[in-house]
């Protein structure tokens, strides 16, 4: 399974729409896929999801190679900006979770740059 997340823009601010599409580069057996925005605290090797939007279902069907799944999400109005330091980071990311039968879910992530 291989996915690519394409976005309409590169830098975001609180409240901005986050629109794009998930391209299935290499499909496989699945029961569907969902996408969410997450605010993640990261201090390698630990991470903690401090906030996540309600997952939006992209499809309930098997992911076929070449499929394109558009999505339209939005950052919360009070979204904190991205911070990256040597000793820890606060980042927003898009996460696509694919429900694979009788296997751990597959996921693909893409970090967003959120400015103040």
């Amino acid at each position: 399974m291989k996915l690519r997340i394409d976005l309409e823009q590169g830098t975001f601010a609180a409240g901005d729409p986050v629109n794009g599409e998930v391209v299935v580069l290499d499909g496989g057996r699945s029961r569907g896929a969902a996408i969410e925005l997450r605010f993640v605290e990261r201090s390698l090797p630990f991470e903690h999801v401090a906030f996540a939007t309600e997952p939006v279902q992209l499809t309930d069907e098997e992911l076929a190679t070449g499929a394109v799944l558009p999505f339209a999400l939005a950052l919360p109005a009070e979204a904190l900006p991205t911070v990256q330091t040597e000793h820890g980071s606060l980042i927003w990311e898009l996460r696509v979770a694919v429900d694979v039968p009788l296997m751990p879910d597959f996921d693909e992530r893409l970090e967003l740059l959120v400015a103040a």
Partner: protein, 133 residues
């Protein structure tokens, strides 16, 4: 999180105590001459990251076990030599730096610190400053 109290011989006035990134903090200080002359100290505005790290141990009963250990590190700081008994410094919070945040695996705390010269972790005094995004 608990912090040490400033020593009773040092008077610190920090304005404002809450500001946005890119803003300026003014720190006025007043201390007896003999204390300042005792050994060099620096006054600074610093951001400390409290963050989770991984520690591998081979202790009895847990050979090779791994535990989460929280660490403190200075993320950014601006230190000024305290070479007078009273005065005022201005510190600017970086516009793109960390803001005050208290989380589970990462927290960022801003404050005004006094330290022995060039000894980053020898913190002697603290006045909290809240930095908004």
């Amino acid at each position: 999180m608990s912090w040490p109290e400033p020593p009773d011989w040092l008077r610190l006035e920090v304005e404002p105590r809450r500001l946005a990134r890119g803003g300026t903090v003014t720190v006025a200080f007043d201390a007896p001459h003999d204390r300042i002359a005792e050994y060099p100290r620096e006054l600074g505005l610093a951001c400390l990251a409290h963050h989770a790290g991984r520690f591998k141990t081979g202790e009895v009963g847990n050979p090779g076990g791994r535990f989460r250990v929280d660490r403190q590190d200075v993320v950014c700081a601006d230190w000024r030599l305290l070479d007078d008994a009273e005065g005022e410094f201005e510190f600017t919070v970086p516009g793109e730096g960390p803001y005050s945040y208290e989380g589970d695996v990462v927290s960022f705390y801003w404050g005004v610190w006094l330290r022995a010269e060039a000894r980053v972790l020898d913190r002697e005094a603290y006045v909290a400053v809240v930095v908004d995004p």
